[in-house]
Symmetry: C2
Subunit: 594 residues, 2 copies
């Protein structure tokens, strides 16, 4: 029968006791990390969130206490009262390694069955099992450091924004569903059977309304929701550090965001970030790195070789150029002997997932030069390509040709990162942060046969591009900015449209009739008739920020109870079926399965 | 055409300028509170979240600037650059009343249509209109103080819990729906058509798992959801300050909670709260005040007059007593002349909503004594009742009789509060806080014909009552506690069951088979097999705490975008119908309306 804690009071955490505490009577509580029975002596390592302390039981120990220690097993919950003393055999690897507690009173507060996996710092247990028993996985010191680190990051964020005059204001989680909200989670309502709320994908509209209401500086650590297939680093519910400011320019938002990053790195990791951060336009990022979130910790930049090939008769390249696209390449320096022909072929398959028809390559290996395309080119064309890419003996050149520049950028951008990772070219010593600015306002959607907003329909075009909103929407640039960390988008934002006339033209450019615009965003459009200040803002993806700051590989490691790629939660087996009567009250029924 | 802010940068908030700033060039931004056109002079009161400043335009003003000032209307958004100077006519009621800004440059950043109501400190506009145009209502200084006050309260809460070693850990909002979750909002999932998540009514299970995982001290400002009819002070989504601690007793939780309240009152209202707070058992609170959240700012306590009536032949009283109930009363001192017979009759109707069959009364008015029941009693019985209630000339006595004590308590408890409010008996000078402890573990549900948990099924019974769990569940008291402020429940919590054997007996007492318990709480029951520490916790209702601290009448006033009693949001008109195709993807369809 488990015992109660009544009459005992914890005086110390396990991990905080030191030699200076010798002679003190203390009471500690925690879980048995391990028990060692040496016959006349028993040692128990007791663990709490601060660390481990050794409990010692010997011939001076009361027999009943000794018996309890003898019976203790891994993960039993104990409370122990005793006296701190110097250890005979010190353990330099443990902060408490100089001392132990000579136990006088021991309570077994809870027993434990043998857990399905051991609670250890590092684990090679499959993630599905860890998630099913998340409450045990979360006991591992590695996980505890992450969850505690997350708390410290979020606390630092709130302190920073508060010190800078931002108000944290809660916006609703049960909001209006908008017709284009294909990724909205819907929530039926008992009070309005057949009607639905939506869960927010972001607090965007509400934070803009708060600017219109004069709150001037808003922030929120906001839970957001998206009902879609989950990629490795997405969750159906995720958290943003969201902020918005009135009467400001892009530079003001950037300064606040940089101040935040500088502050949080300093406070949590004791790492100095140099600000202001480097800035790069979207066009430069795409041209040089094939990505709107370039990783600048290594080179291997993209080179446009279209000019060298403008007269080529090689159909693959000529076709791409005549379709308005380009041929671009990267040079993997000095790895020709390390990258086999077979591996190159595999990469050729791999880039197809980015839309490329294939990968053209030249391998300048010590055993001989081979190329997939040079034989189709005039010698001076092949030479010009080599020259443009700075080819030397030992290099591998990769070219992608496509009538769509986006395909060229996506393929080479991904290939560049893949190769850098594979060949250890990335300087991991410090975080690499930059801004990407001047995003296109629109991108063309082939599926919808119209321009869609690259960020969202409330993003302000650059003043100098306003005249092109109707005549050449594809060339209009937005006052939008992303912060990039080590090749990951950490957050993004924009100056918002505050003028009804520009908002109207924006909706027109997106192909909305005034009626459609009213139906979708009616209350926002109405609100803007009553004096909207200039405003701008940004949101950081908290899960990703924590993951990158703490050096984790998966955002699931920085979320206490995450969901897996199917959006299920393995511990509680959610989602589940529900009682048909409950659905009836909501005015809905299940569709019969075919 | 609205102008842009480009090239101008705000230097000051409107409300912060003082005489010491005279001679400085400043730029302010804000909304036009009012414009006064005196012919050669124009004055504009410009408003931002910090207050109001006066802009002045006169004969030295550039004509174009003057024209803009002339055309400015209420709620136009302006940026003004100029020089601070002393006012000729000072306004002592305004913090900035000693100065004005002589404007040199003026930009009209946005115009405004005439708003549906004026943006003023106090308003008598109907709440529905305020909520429809919430973005305008939120501009009122009164509302801004509340939203800013809420931010300060929440920030103080997070600081306090952080300083005391609590980790804020986010728990999921998409969780498993449990069969008894009749008030759960359900969320269909595209990835699992026909299956549902639920939105959490509280993070209860997850925070207990975090204790089991060794996090020791958890807190969260957590959004919670409840799909039910809304009473005046409820919202379908609401926020809790939720915390949980391991290896502690009830006293430890109370000390942390008291420390929080003391700290937040000090920081936000500069008000000293004396701790420790007074404690009162649930039985005492019910017997003396007819309420488990007694308002101790006034007397008028309940008196049990059953003993005086034990032999009465008056059917109404005798019936109540023979059914195991009671007859109790309160004495409204000295108000007999102020409370008419007609008003008493109305109160008699009103108490019926609390289950009472009626209200028995004696009115000792100066014009004569009247009573609804004394004529049915023996003279010595009537005298004994008067004596028990301390009746004197001028008093009004009220009695309620019922076979169910709950009805007696509910009716008289409500009547006591109603009368105290009506006759101004409440000492409003300072907040009145106390703990109510030792709640019954169960209450009997007549509908379900079984005992149900008064708090929830994880509440620990008192150690001395463990033996009665099967034999006399109705008498078992829980280690549960509520904090009460001015007659409102501010928060509550309990010591949780951490022993599988007690949890099993608890489920049995609630009438669950082991299979039902497993189906409902399986993952929690499983988790408790691996070493659950003793733990306890509490949650404060944030919306109510903010409302009471800031002296508001409605929680809607301290929520930026609240919902009304029907659970609708009036601004965006949510909830709404959705596209049938969207429902199809979710595996559901609408029920046809009859």
């Amino acid at each position: 029968m488990p015992e109660s804690l009544t009459g005992l009071k914890r005086t110390n955490y396990c991990g905080e006791l030191r030699a200076a505490d010798c002679g003190r009577e203390v009471t500690v509580c925690g879980w048995v990390q391990r028990q060692r029975d040496l016959g006349q002596l028993i040692f128990i390592d007791l663990r709490d969130r601060t660390g481990i302390v050794q409990l010692a039981f010997g011939d001076k120990t009361d027999r009943e206490v000794f018996q309890k220690a003898f019976a203790a097993r891994a993960e039993f919950v104990l409370a122990a009262r005793g006296t701190v003393r110097e250890r005979s055999a010190k353990n330099a690897e443990l902060p408490t390694g100089d001392i132990e507690i000579e136990v006088e009173e021991l309570r077994v507060l809870a027993k434990s069955e043998t857990p399905p996996f051991a609670i250890e710092e590092k684990t090679d247990v499959k993630e599905d099992l860890r998630l099913k028993y998340r409450y045990l996985d979360l006991r591992r010191p590695e996980m505890q450091r992450k969850i505690i680190g997350r708390h410290r990051i979020v606390k630092a964020a709130r302190d920073y924004f508060d010190e800078n005059g931002f108000l944290e204001i809660e916006t609703p989680n049960l909001i209006k569903s908008t017709p284009e909200g294909a990724r909205d989670y819907l929530v039926p309502s008992r009070m309005f059977p057949g009607s639905f709320f939506a869960l927010p994908q972001s607090p965007q509209l509400y934070k803009q309304l708060l600017m219109l209401s004069g709150y001037d500086r808003y922030m929120q650590v906001a839970r957001c929701f998206r009902d879609e297939d989950l990629r490795a680093d997405r969750q159906p519910e995720f958290t943003q550090i969201d902020f918005e400011m009135s009467f400001v320019s892009q530079d003001d938002v950037m300064a606040i965001a940089e101040g935040f990053i500088k502050d949080v790195y300093q406070k949590v990791l004791d790492l100095e970030i140099q600000t202001p951060l480097r800035r790069m336009t979207w066009h430069e990022a795409m041209n040089r790195f094939g990505s709107d979130k370039p990783d600048l910790r290594f080179g291997m930049e993209l080179t446009d070789v279209s000019e060298a090939l403008k007269n080529t008769e090689f159909r693959v390249f000529a076709g791409a150029l005549s379709a308005g696209g380009s041929v671009r390449g990267i040079n993997l320096k000095g790895q020709a002997d390390a990258l086999s022909r077979k591996e190159i072929d595999k990469l050729g398959e791999w880039v197809k997932s980015y839309g490329a028809k294939g990968l053209a390559w030249t391998r300048l290996a010590s055993g001989g030069e081979t190329s997939s395309y040079e034989k189709f080119l005039a010698p001076e064309e092949a030479a010009a390509v080599r020259k443009a890419l700075g080819a030397e003996a030992g290099d591998v050149l990769f070219l992608v040709a496509s009538g769509e520049n986006k395909v060229v950028f996506d393929s080479l951008g991904a290939l560049r990162k893949e190769l850098a990772g594979r060949f250890g070219l990335i300087d991991d010593s410090k975080p690499c942060l930059l801004w990407v600015t001047d995003f296109p306002l629109f991108e063309y959607s082939k599926e919808e046969n119209r321009f869609v907003a690259m960020h969202h329909p409330f993003t302000m075009p650059r003043e100098e591009d306003l005249g092109k909103l109707e005549s050449d929407p594809g060339s209009v640039l937005a006052i939008a900015y992303d912060m990039v960390l080590n090749g990951n988008e950490l957050g993004g934002g924009s100056v918002r449209i505050n003028r009804p006339d520009i908002q109207e033209r924006m909706f027109q450019a997106l192909g909305f009739t005034p009626e459609q615009a009213q139906e979708r965003f009616g209350f926002l459009i109405d609100a803007f008739r009553y004096g909207a200040p200039p405003h701008a803002g940004m949101a950081f993806g908290l899960d990703r920020l924590v993951m990158l700051m703490l050096g984790c590989d998966s955002i699931r490691d920085v979320i206490a109870f995450p969901k897996v790629a199917s959006s299920a939660e393995l511990m509680s087996s959610a989602p589940t079926g529900v009682d048909p009567k409950q659905l009836e009250e909501l005015g809905i029924s299940l569709l019969k399965k075919d």
